[in-house]
């Protein structure tokens, strides 16, 4: 900005004619800064109160990477046990994603009887023999020998190697790692994607390629005598033991139903009550007061409290969730609707009344058209919010996907299931946001 030069007399004149601008109050001058300082002071207090610094530094951050990787990848953990007779026995983890008798191209037997595991490419591999193990990292072989029941870290081993308690771990980055002990080698081999997403390993359809699956379903011999291959495949998909599609979709539907029914009931009950609560429609102070305090009560008793109370009453399940949303939102809607009614333009009611309409007609044609936009848009807003909120009250037992999500997280091993459910929830939220926006635009126009 180029400066505008003022003479001294100009300046005095300006100062004198606009004193309020040149001498603002202390709050106007420093208020913003004081607010910022207050906020900062509060954040520092909060930091100390929750001991954030220490908790963060005590966190097991090395696990965070594994958990995040679990969202989008899976791991096979074959274990090569050294037998006393000098042979190798391969053991897989229980419910291995590789199935009963895995036949994979990354686990091979070498011509000399040793076993080989490749990590992504042949430049990174582990050759396993009972007396020594050779780990090849970027085409450079390192021999790991055993001494006194300990695996010995090879000399000049690169950073990918580490040794702890007589166990040598070779890390191949994302592709996995191999832990070498004197009795066994534990291989962790990680792959991108969600394993066995459609069919689990016990299913007859497991491991089929898409064309193969298609031909089996369309024209293959019937696998189960009493049902067609298509229904069997659908059943196998829903009962997939790892992904539990049937259960997840059922719980997701419960969450949607909770939000839909709860919001609809709340709106239906709050609408007539709002007319009783509105001062300008119901001319009775006690009635206004009672309804308004009723709204305040149901609204201010937290949704958590209602959820837990109804979970005790109905037992776990979506009925409790519906009841909790219904009771809480009756209060919220009642407050919003009655405020909308109290803010209407009274001329329209007078007009309807002047032509001799009944009390019901006065409200129907004098009030409802004016509050309809507010009622519709707020109800739809809360419907959206409840679809998001129903997830979390479900976690305390009020039905829906929340509890399933919480259980999947508690184990710390099913992060891929968490990712799957989060994806479904996000899709549902976006779909219903768009439905609600479309409805809003349809019903009350673009102005919102």
């Amino acid at each position: 900005m180029s400066a505008i030069v003022l003479t001294a007399s100009d300046r005095t004149r300006l100062r004198r004619s606009h004193p309020s601008l040149f001498n603002p109050g202390i709050f106007k001058r420093w208020g913003g800064l004081m607010l910022i300082a207050g906020a900062l002071a509060y954040l520092i207090y909060g930091w100390a109160f929750f001991d954030i610094g220490r908790t963060l530094s005590d966190g097991k951050w090395e696990r965070a990477g594994i958990y995040m990787a679990d969202w989008i990848s899976w791991e096979a953990q074959p274990r090569y046990r050294f037998q006393p007779d000098g042979s190798l026995q391969i053991e897989h983890q229980r419910f291995s994603p590789l199935g009963e008798n895995p036949d994979t191209d990354w686990m091979t037997t070498l011509p000399d009887g040793r076993e080989e595991v490749t990590f992504g490419s042949s430049a990174n591999r582990v050759e396993i023999g009972t007396t020594d193990v050779v780990a090849v990292v970027d085409d450079v072989p390192y021999e790991i020998v055993f001494a006194n029941e300990n695996a010995v870290l090879p000399v000049n081993a690169p950073a990918a190697f580490s040794e702890k308690n007589g166990r040598v771990t070779v890390s191949f980055g994302f592709a996995g790692s191999a832990e070498i002990r004197s009795t066994q080698v534990l291989v962790r081999r990680r792959f991108f994607g969600w394993e066995n997403f459609v069919f689990d390993t016990t299913s007859p359809f497991w491991g089929m390629s898409l064309p193969e699956l298609w031909s089996t379903i369309a024209s293959g011999p019937q696998i189960e005598p009493d049902q067609s291959n298509l229904t069997l495949a659908w059943h196998e998909f829903l009962t997939n033991s790892e992904w539990q599609h049937g259960d997840v979709l059922n719980k997701l539907l419960q969450t949607i139903v909770m939000a839909f029914v709860g919001t609809l009931f709340a709106a239906t009950l709050a609408f007539p009550l709002a007319f009783i609560a509105a001062r300008n429609v119901t001319n009775s102070r006690p009635m206004n007061w009672i309804t308004k305090r009723f709204f305040d009560f149901t609204r201010s008793v937290d949704m958590l409290i209602w959820a837990l109370v109804f979970t005790r009453g109905f037992g776990p399940g979506p009925l409790a969730g519906i009841a909790a949303i219904f009771v809480t939102d009756t209060g919220t809607f009642g407050k919003l609707y009655s405020e909308a009614i109290e803010n209407i333009d009274d001329k329209q009611r007078e007009g309807v009344r002047s032509v001799g309409a009944s009390a019901a007609d006065v409200n129907r044609f004098g009030v409802v058209p004016q509050i309809a936009p507010v009622v519709i848009s707020q109800t739809l807003y809360f419907w959206e919010a409840n679809i998001r909120g129903a997830t979390i009250i479900g976690a305390v037992g009020a039905g829906g996907i929340g509890l399933k999500l919480l259980e999947a997280m508690r184990t710390n091993q099913d992060w891929e299931n968490v990712a799957y459910m989060v994806l479904l929830i996000l899709i549902v939220v976006f779909v219903f946001d768009n439905i609600s926006n479309a409805l809003r635009t349809r019903l009350i126009g673009k102005s919102q």
Binding site: L56, F314, A395
Partner: protein, 322 residues
């Protein structure tokens, strides 16, 4: 609409045509309304049947016994509630956790002074709510100017920022909390993180809508004297939008107090967690003490925030939103 009936007088041909068209439009509108209501009713019935089947207690079976559990929730005498609230020794003490109120005391500085357990837990919950509103509000403030369409930010940047805000809003809080809790072991910091992220998304959306409705004349004026983007935002937009921002910020504070009680119940700590435990164990006096405390706090926060909002922006600033 009330029908305009033909009361026997003859209508002219033109008027009759208008009248016929009006009747036709009305019939169509009524048909659509009836169809919509019928559709909603059918979906509702199906939804209720589904919900009933999915619940462990069936609606019709449970209704007579719905509040039976309240029988277990009769405190031994009304003063028990007060004793539970203020951690005073109970005359019913039998060594069980149910009557052991003193165990939860948080002593201050090693003296005899203590903060009663539920007041302390309430403070934890409030601190979670305030911290996350502050942190979330700060980031929302920084992001909203980039997301608004009237400040000349490149369309792709705006698109990305808006999608990020939507994602933050829609991402289930419980998963955000769970992810961090898995790393930090359960606790309030995970709750702060989860509520903050949601707050950025929710406030960011409201903020950028306010910015988009701002009067652009001050901006034009600043642009005319050669101000850069930051100066224009600072001196043309911020002063206009600040009252609305503060109003939304206060509303979000109210919402976050509720959100942090709920997230507390699923492992975030604070009053939600002790409440879930006490209602689950049938500790009547403790449960009532917490309900009363929570109710009073929420009412107080709502009143305070409402009063502040009215002072800052006037009566118009009461608008809810997700």
């Amino acid at each position: 609409m009330a029908d305009i009936t033909n009361d026997g007088r003859e209508l002219s041909a033109a008027t009759a045509a208008i009248h016929r068209h009006y009747r036709q439009l009305l019939a169509t509108k009524r048909l659509y309304s009836a169809l919509a209501v019928a559709g909603i009713a059918i979906v509702l019935v199906l939804a209720l049947i589904f919900a009933n089947d999915a619940s462990s207690g069936k609606f019709v079976d449970r209704i007579p016994y719905l509040f039976d559990f309240i029988k277990n929730f009769v405190p031994d005498d009304p003063f028990e509630i007060i004793r539970a609230m203020f951690d005073l020794p109970s005359p019913y003490a039998d060594g069980s956790f149910k009557y052991d109120y003193e165990v939860g005391r948080h002593y201050l500085f090693g003296t005899g002074l203590y903060v009663p357990e539920y007041f302390f837990e309430m403070l934890v919950t409030l601190n979670i709510a305030f911290m996350s509103t502050l942190i979330g509000g700060l980031f929302a403030f920084l992001l909203c100017f980039v997301a608004a369409s009237n400040l000349g930010v490149a369309a792709p940047v705006r698109w990305i920022v808006r999608r990020i805000l939507e994602l933050m809003r829609a991402f289930p809080e419980i998963v955000l909390a769970g992810m961090l809790a898995a790393v930090l072991s359960l606790g309030p910091i995970a709750a702060i993180f989860a509520v903050s992220v949601h707050t950025v998304g929710a406030l960011g959306k409201m903020f950028f809508e306010v910015v988009e409705n701002a009067d652009m004349k001050p901006d034009d004026g600043l642009r005319a004297v050669g101000a850069n983007w930051f100066e224009r935002v600072r001196f043309a937009i911020v002063p206009q939008v600040m009252p609305n921002f503060v109003s939304y910020f206060l509303l979000r504070t109210e919402i976050n107090v509720r959100a942090s009680t709920i997230i507390g119940a699923v492992g975030g700590g604070g009053i939600g967690e002790v409440f879930r435990q006490s209602i689950g164990r049938d500790h009547a006096a403790k449960t009532y003490a917490i309900v009363i405390l929570l109710f009073l706090t929420i009412v107080a926060i709502d009143q305070l925030s409402g009063w502040l909002r009215r002072r800052l922006v006037g009566n118009a600033a009461f608008q809810f939103g997700a």
